[in-house]
């Protein structure tokens, strides 16, 4: 993936990780993610030795921000990722109201056993359930992100649409 943002990762032993960003406009800022899940944003301004604190988010708030920024793009990103491996593909399988599995647990589909393809995420409105567990209940309108061979993805499609 091409990107304009330069990111460096610095380990903070005992605390977490600091990510330094330099944007295309030359602005420098840092995001410190704590082991606890808390996140702190700092702005370096023109003096790299005097970062100014911007915001502090707790784990839940950080999650919300991440979802706002990340959810709509997750399926695209999987598609990019799977291009790198020959034979592997990513697909999106919608769960319609007519599907026999709407309102049932993901595990009931036995999709992986039957097709070999994995359901790696469920996109629901603006949120993403990453690595859904077998007891995740599918809702009408959900979009399943599937990774597998092309036959496998087609198999999941036919299972879900019934």
């Amino acid at each position: 993936m091409m990107t304009q943002v330069e990111v460096t990762e610095v380990l903070l032993p005992g605390v977490g990780v600091r990510y330094d960003f330099t944007t295309a406009r030359g602005e420098r800022f840092a995001v410190v993610t704590r082991r606890s899940g808390d996140v702190e944003f700092m702005d370096y301004g023109d003096d790299p030795d005097a970062p100014r604190p911007l915001w502090r988010l707790d784990a839940e708030e950080a999650e919300v921000v991440a979802e706002v920024l990340g959810a709509p793009r997750i399926a695209e990103r999987f598609a990019d990722l799977t291009k790198e491996i020959p034979g592997l593909g990513a697909g999106q399988v919608p769960v319609t109201a007519a599907s026999p599995y709407a309102g049932r647990a993901l595990g009931d589909t036995r999709a992986r056993t039957l097709t070999g393809a994995s359901i790696v995420a469920v996109v629901r409105d603006d949120t993403v359930v990453a690595s859904p567990r077998p007891d995740e209940v599918l809702q009408p309108g959900d979009i399943l992100v599937v990774i597998g061979t092309h036959e496998g993805i087609a198999g999941v499609q036919s299972i879900i649409s019934g």
């Binding site: 610095v10 380990l11 903070l12 032993p13 005992g14 605390v15 977490g16 600091r18 840092a30 410190v32 082991r35 702190e40 700092m42 370096y44 301004g45 023109d46 003096d47 790299p48 030795d49 005097a50 970062p51 100014r52 604190p53």
Partner: protein, 396 residues
């Protein structure tokens, strides 16, 4: 009946005093540890308000406190962070050891504490307080600073070095022979290697034994494992603290994260009792004669820590202000210094623990003060606006 009511009331008063002191310290952004020590001095024999009935509980609580303190210190350890720190900062750790352990060891020798006492004094002046430093970095909002990775790396490498130093000192202090000391150091290194292997290959056999979703069960399992190992190491003359530290080191990854969360409240209570107990065991009159030596040693080892931090931060490319901040933040000594002193408490009562307590009281106050002053050092060129004072008054 009467005995138990006296115990409960005295204990209630003691905890209320600790709570008040803790709140006071936090309000001004300082570590409560020196105040706990002072409270112990005031409540002990020869102090202003002795509490005899609570004594038995405090003694038991203190030994559990050391165990939990070292368990959680060990839990902080992760292999990835250790290797990253070691890659960049082994020279910093060597400078740290040479500059800071030497003055303590020399002072111990001059004070006539014998060579084991000198070894312990070297340890006491060597190790910064990870607890106080980590808290300061957070309160002063320095986590994103350029010098901070260097500071944290020095702390990690000190902690790992303690895994070998503590068993060595414990066995020697208990009158063990060199081969026994070597054996217990080997056991410690073995536990460290186990931690490495566990995260790299074995998938954490220890983790699988203790891991469970239920926080209550996790707490009980970890505590039982820790107390068993601590008890066995104590039997082998290597001090319970060492065993607990090794259990903490061997638990890594997710289990360590969750264990930290469930153990934290217990640790806070019993660690406070441990600091209190150190004060209680010291007669305030013992401190007066050592005070000049304590102040002199504190001044020297504060300066050597500044040099250490300066050197480590310079390796990470921080400018002068960052180096000064790194140096001053490392001045604070705390829990490890007291644990080291407590290892020798039975072998050499009195002088050493009085010395260590006074030394920690001084530097646990001076360190945070010095590093706050370092924040006031003006920028080399005029900043755009007056910098917002975002210091310790913010509650976490």
């Amino acid at each position: 009946m009467h005995g138990s009511s006296a115990l409960l009331i005295e204990l209630g008063i003691v905890l209320a005093a600790l709570a008040t002191l803790g709140a006071l310290a936090r309000r001004f952004g300082y570590s409560p540890v020196p105040l706990y020590l002072l409270a112990g001095l005031a409540l002990g024999p020869g102090g202003i308000a002795p509490v005899p009935a609570a004594g038995a509980f405090v003694t038991t609580g203190a030994s559990i406190g050391v165990i939990l303190l070292l368990l959680t210190l060990g839990l902080e350890f992760t292999v990835g962070e250790f290797t990253a720190s070691a890659r960049r900062h082994v020279p910093s750790a060597c400078v740290d050891f040479a500059l800071n352990a030497a003055p303590g060891a020399v002072a111990g020798w001059l004070l006539g504490l014998g060579w084991i006492g000198a070894l312990a004094m070297g340890g006491i002046t060597w190790v910064s307080s990870s607890g106080i430093v980590a808290r300061l970095l957070e309160d002063l909002r320095r986590l994103a600073n350029r010098e901070t990775p260097a500071v944290l790396s020095v702390l990690v490498l000190e902690d790992v070095a303690m895994a070998a130093f503590l068993p060595l000192l414990a066995v020697l202090a208990a009158g063990g022979a060199w081969w026994q000391a070597a054996l217990s150091v080997a056991a410690a290194v073995g536990a460290l290697s186990l931690a490495f292997a566990a995260t790299h290959r074995l998938g954490g056999p220890l983790a699988r034994i203790v891991d469970t979703d239920d926080p209550e069960l996790l707490l009980l399992r970890v505590l039982s494992l820790t107390l068993l190992v601590a008890g066995i190491t104590e039997l082998m003359q290597a001090s319970a603290a060492v065993g607990a530290f090794l259990v903490g080191l061997a638990l890594t990854g997710q289990v360590a994260d969750r264990t930290r969360r469930v153990v934290a409240p217990l640790r806070d209570l019993f660690a406070a009792v441990f600091f209190l107990a150190i004060g209680l065991a010291i007669n305030p009159r013992d401190i007066v004669p050592v005070l000049p030596a304590v102040l002199a040693l504190a001044a020297v080892t504060a300066a050597t820590k500044v040099v250490t931090g300066w050197y480590a931060a310079a390796r990470d490319g921080a400018a002068r202000r960052g180096r000064l901040r790194a140096g001053t933040v490392l001045i604070a000594r705390g829990e490890f210094s007291l644990v080291i002193a407590s290892l020798l408490a039975t072998a050499q009562p009195g002088q050493l623990s009085a010395f260590a307590a006074a030394y920690v009281i001084v530097l646990a106050v001076v360190g945070p003060l010095a590093t706050r002053l370092a924040d006031r050092v003006p920028a080399p060129r005029p900043a755009a606006a007056t910098r917002a004072e975002s210091g310790g008054r913010a509650s976490g």
